[in-house]
């Protein structure tokens, strides 16, 4: 054919001649520059001929490729590139078709050089911004082929790298070319993204492996040469940066798939790197979409191994940190809900040891420590998300988490089995840890709105748990909620500080809202601090945290009244340690003494009343000399030297209420108030709370055995209301009471006199109903009555065999949470509740009462029935609560 061209060259159209002329005799000579200029000039002056020029060039190129005349192929390509560059945007369109065909042709060749040549031309083309859309261009082949090149497995590593880089560049080109042109093939379609993204990730991942070994001195000179991984990263970033709202999903999905398929979650680092790139590259307003997808993926992997889930959570953590504000997007609670669900699932898996709730498909072994790691990661992630939220949303989230905490008594089903107890306990711990994460760094100007009763009440009720870990967590949460000036670290360890100015405390004036908050919740806080001191299993961290809490309350929320109350509280704690009605171990008593001393030392300096300071200082000095174990330095050490018993304590070793009242009165503090010893009070919240406060049962038990003993009233003269009046307030008929007593007497008699067999038979027949009655009683029985004899409680104790979760004793099910306030188990001067609230509480209970026997007609609501029930455990009324009968640890204790 060339021969033909030779002889009839003159007859050929001009464009053909011009094209032919750019090719030299010998391909080694390269493009004939002068002729190329002529061709360019011609093309520019007659753009309508461009399509024919293109077609002819392409035809020649195809021929040359087929004949392996690669020199000419290169020349044709160079000419095409130059024409492309020289042409105006408008006219390119005519030419592109044949241009792309040539590139395709080159890419189809199996010579790496030709592939790279084609790619380079394509990239040049891609960088031209066209302003006329084209409707019929298809880049399918290019996406497929470039993706394939990204995976090249050519034998020669250098060539392989070149091909792969060409592939990446080509993909970049396709993206650039199509991304802004809505009329063209939508590059964001899954069919393209599923090729592009994995190809990029594959190269990114390949880079990870080689990077570690590549930086040898020899290669340092080639530094200007970009590695495929770097190029990939750039390309990936560009791709993501161009993604619009609707496209994020299609771009991120293949990433998730790729990480799944190559099991890259477990190694974490690559997954984290990918998502760091994603988060930094996408437009920040879209970042919540990525978070949502990750969360969705986490849910989809619920049944996958813990390491995979932990990897996803880890990625979430990093992503959330990058996305910062707005990462959570519009569905704040959904995010936390998902995380909490995962936490819960993990706890379930850990406890059941299987991913399947039925337990029959336990093919995968669950590794406990992996689940633990996952849980830690989830908790950390919750904290990280919370950090991005504004204050108001944070308190919302705290409320949300609080709502998820299984409050004992509210979920009777959970408590039915031992594992159920473990489960709910673990979930409590996990959720409290999450809450702590959210609370850390939480700073609000308005405590009142940030911490509503609906949040504080359940939180504080958890401080009454016997579980030391849970209690400590709650205390820590309180500390971080109250601390708003980062004073917490200054009080993290408990000690006597001779001069608090060294702490450089930051104090703001107590705001009106703070005062209101304290007015509303102070008593509650004091009460829980006081009760926390009484817990037997409190250890050093508890006392330290209590100290921090007290100190922070004084720093953040103290007005004059609060200071007075806090001093009273400290003195009451001293009394508590002194009187030892709780039979606390000596260590605890010393610790309480030390806590009280450390705190008084702090607050006296805060009040800056010199004589107060002097008194405190004197006592502390004496203690240092005589009883160092009553100071924090003595108690809270590695090996404290605690005496065997803690009896005769001289007056000069103690902080004297009278003395303090005197000195503070001089400085204008409310001495009347100060002179009254602190008594934990019940607030409205306590009475109305669905959860029962500890005192309530006492009123019942007092009735059982110590009704006639007047000591109680004598000891607390303020409490004029005896049980009689109390009961009368509810039960307006004495007759009924008498009747009950009679019935009870009969039963006791029967059990005392009847032969064993008969009792056994009788009991056997009613075993189930007795059991359920017992349940109810022990749900009500929070603590034994303060009776010195303890006969009744001992009697109950013998009937119990199995144990009930601790919290159930403390927080009986709602079935028995009626009967308003009441005294505390130890009878330490708790004010008896007024009858009026009792009634209201009863009314409330009536609404929510579970099936109970109908109360005797015109009487006050179901409290009454319950009272009756508890007094007659053996009567065969139907019972509402299914939980186990229990032995109350406290019961045994009092018996000794």
């Amino acid at each position: 054919m060339t021969g033909v061209c030779g002889c009839c060259g003159a007859l050929r159209p001009r464009y053909k001649r011009l094209v032919d002329n750019i090719f030299p005799e010998d391909p080694e000579d390269g493009l004939v520059k002068a002729n190329m200029e002529k061709l360019t000039f011609y093309a520019l002056s007659a753009p309508e001929k461009l399509d024919r020029i293109g077609a002819y060039l392409s035809e020649r190129l195809s021929r040359d490729v087929a004949r392996h005349r690669y020199g000419y192929v290169c020349i044709a390509m160079e000419a095409l590139d130059q024409l492309l560059m020289a042409c105006h945007c408008q006219s390119i369109n005519l030419f592109v078709e044949s241009f792309l065909k040539m590139v395709r042709k080159l890419l189809e060749a199996d010579k790496p050089d030709l592939q790279i040549l084609g790619t380079n031309s394509f990239v040049k083309f891609a960088n031209i911004e066209e302003d006329t859309p084209s409707y019929h261009r298809s880049y399918d082949f290019f996406v497929s082929r470039f993706s394939e090149m990204c995976h090249s497995s050519y034998e020669d590593p250098d060539v392989r790298t070149k091909i792969r880089m060409a592939g990446i560049k080509g993909l970049q080109g396709v993206v650039r070319k199509t991304v802004n042109d809505e009329l063209q093939a939508n590059i964001w379609d899954p069919q393209h993204m599923d090729k592009i993204v994995p190809s990029l990730l594959f190269n990114l991942q390949q880079g990870e492996g080689t990077e570690s070994r590549s930086p040898s001195p020899l290669q340092a000179s080639e530094k200007e040469k970009e590695s495929p991984a770097e190029l990939t990263e750039r390309c990936f970033r560009e791709l993501l940066g161009r993604a619009a709202y609707g496209n994020i999903k299609n771009a991120v999905n293949p990433v998730l798939m790729h990480l799944d398929n190559h099991s890259l979650w477990e190694g974490k680092s690559f997954a984290v790197r990918c998502f760091k790139i994603i988060m930094y590259s996408i437009q920040s307003q879209h970042s919540h979409l990525v978070i949502q997808q990750l969360l969705g993926h986490l849910d989809a992997n619920s049944k996958n191994s813990a390491t995979v889930r932990a990897g996803i959570v880890e990625v979430l953590l990093e992503a959330a940190a990058i996305a910062s504000s707005g990462s959570v997007g519009p569905t704040v609670l959904e995010v936390f809900n998902t995380l909490l669900r995962q936490l819960r699932l993990s706890v379930d898996y850990e406890l059941t040891g299987s991913y399947d709730s039925c337990g029959n498909l336990g093919s995968k072994v669950i590794k406990e420590h992996e689940e633990r790691q996952l849980q830690e990661a989830v908790i950390k992630t919750i904290g990280s998300f919370a950090n991005t939220l504004p204050t108001y949303q944070r308190s919302e989230v705290m409320l949300f988490i609080m709502g998820k905490i299984p409050v004992p008594g509210m979920h009777p089903a959970l408590a039915s089995a031992k594992s159920g107890f473990d489960c709910s306990r673990m979930i409590q711990v996990m959720l409290l840890k999450s809450l702590l994460q959210v609370a850390t760094g939480f700073q609000t100007t308005n405590m009142l709105t940030a911490l509503p009763s609906s949040f504080l009440d359940p939180l504080l009720s958890l401080t009454l748990m016997e579980d030391a870990e849970i209690r400590l967590l709650v205390l820590e949460i309180l500390v971080s909620l109250i601390d708003r000036h980062d004073n917490q670290p200054k009080f993290s360890s408990i000690s006597i500080i001779s001069d608090i100015s060294v702490l450089k405390l930051k104090v703001d004036k107590c705001s009106r809202q703070d005062n209101l908050f304290m007015k509303k919740h102070a008593q509650q806080l004091y009460r829980h601090i006081y009760l926390a001191c009484k817990e037997e299993n409190s250890a050093r961290p508890h006392f330290e945290t209590l100290y921090t809490l007290l100190a922070l309350i004084s720093m953040e929320l103290a007005n004059e009244e609060v200071v007075v109350d806090l001093i009273r509280l400290a003195l009451a704690m001293q009394d508590l340690a002194l009187s030892n009605e709780e039979m606390l171990p000596v260590y605890n008593r010393c610790a309480v003494h030390a806590l009280s001393a450390a705190y008084l030392n702090l607050i006296c300096q805060l009040t800056t009343v010199p004589s107060f300071c002097q008194h405190v200082h004197e006592v502390i000095e004496t203690r240092q000399k005589e009883v160092p174990f009553m100071l924090p330095e003595g108690v809270f050490t590695e090996s404290p030297s605690i005496p065997k018993s803690l009896d005769k304590l001289e007056g000069h070793l103690l902080f004297l209420q009278s003395k303090i009242t005197e000195v503070l009165g001089g400085s204008g503090y409310n001495t009347d108030r100060l002179a009254t010893p602190y008594i934990p009070q019940f607030t409205d919240e306590d009475r109305l709370s669905k959860r029962k406060s500890i005192g309530e049962t006492i009123s019942l038990q007092v009735e059982v055995e110590s009704r006639n003993s007047p000591e109680k009233e004598e000891r607390t003269p303020a409490e004029e209301i005896t049980f009689e009046t109390l009961k009368n307030a509810i039960v307006d008929s004495i007759g009924m009471e008498e009747q009950e007593r009679e019935r009870r007497r009969q039963v006791v008699e029967k059990f005392q006199k009847a032969p064993f067999e008969e009792i056994a038979a009788h009991c056997g027949a009613r075993a189930s109903s007795l059991q359920s009655k017992l349940n109810q009683i022990f749900e009500i029985t929070i603590r034994p009555p303060p009776s010195p004899s303890g006969t009744i409680t001992a009697g109950y104790g013998q009937m119990q065999s199995r144990s009930v979760p601790v919290y159930e004793m403390k927080f009986p099910t709602c079935a028995c949470t009626r009967a308003g306030g009441g005294g505390e188990r130890d009878g330490t001067r708790w004010p008896s509740p007024a009858p009026q609230p009792l009634r209201s509480a009863g009314g409330r209970a009536g609404e929510t009462a579970p099936p109970l026997p109908p109360p005797p007609p015109p009487r006050a609501p179901s409290d009454e029935a319950e009272l009756t029930l508890s007094l007659h455990p053996h009567c065969d009324k139907p019972s509402g609560s299914p939980s186990d009968p229990a032995r109350h640890p406290k019961v045994t204790r009092t018996r000794h």
Binding site: R52, S144, E148, S153, Q191, S199, M257, N261
Partner: protein, 201 residues
Amino acid sequence: MSMEDYDHLFKIVLIGNAGVGKTCLVRRFTQGLFPPGQGATIGVDFMIKTVEINGEKVKLQIWDTAGQERFRSITQSYYRSANALILTYDITCEDSFRCLPEWLREIEQYANSKVVTVLVGNKIDLTEKREVLRERAEEFAEAQSMLYLETSAKESDNVEKLFLDLACKLIREAKQNSLVNSVSSPMPGEGKTISYLNCCS
């Protein structure tokens, strides 16, 4: 002189378990060689071969996919635009045969509904190690309405036939398709008979 150097273009994708000989089949067909120590394919591989059938030039774009599970997501994205799938198994490996239903599910899920599928039992040179009987495979192929062929990339048995038969079938289908809707343009991704731009010269 035609602008295009072919009359038909078909995309053929090879799928099947890892190590059944997909790459070797393609190499044998396109390059006429049998690479002894062929490593596992990474992601996808691409080959092109133009054949002449009844005077028509047919360009076969062959996408050879990795059998490894970890590349599954990218290989799946290639099924979509395929005109034909060559589902390969190893007659000496029962496992690769047992996985076929799984592959069929994948095809159903990802591939074009009009795709032509051929079942290929490879490695018939290893007769003494055969684990999957011919009858069984034929039965299976028939039940799934697939073509069935046994090949040996090593001995070059039936390899040529496989691709040529497939090309014939594809041409027939393409023609039928263009007869049925002669006016409408071929579906995107379908083998389209490219014969436009005959205007030059």
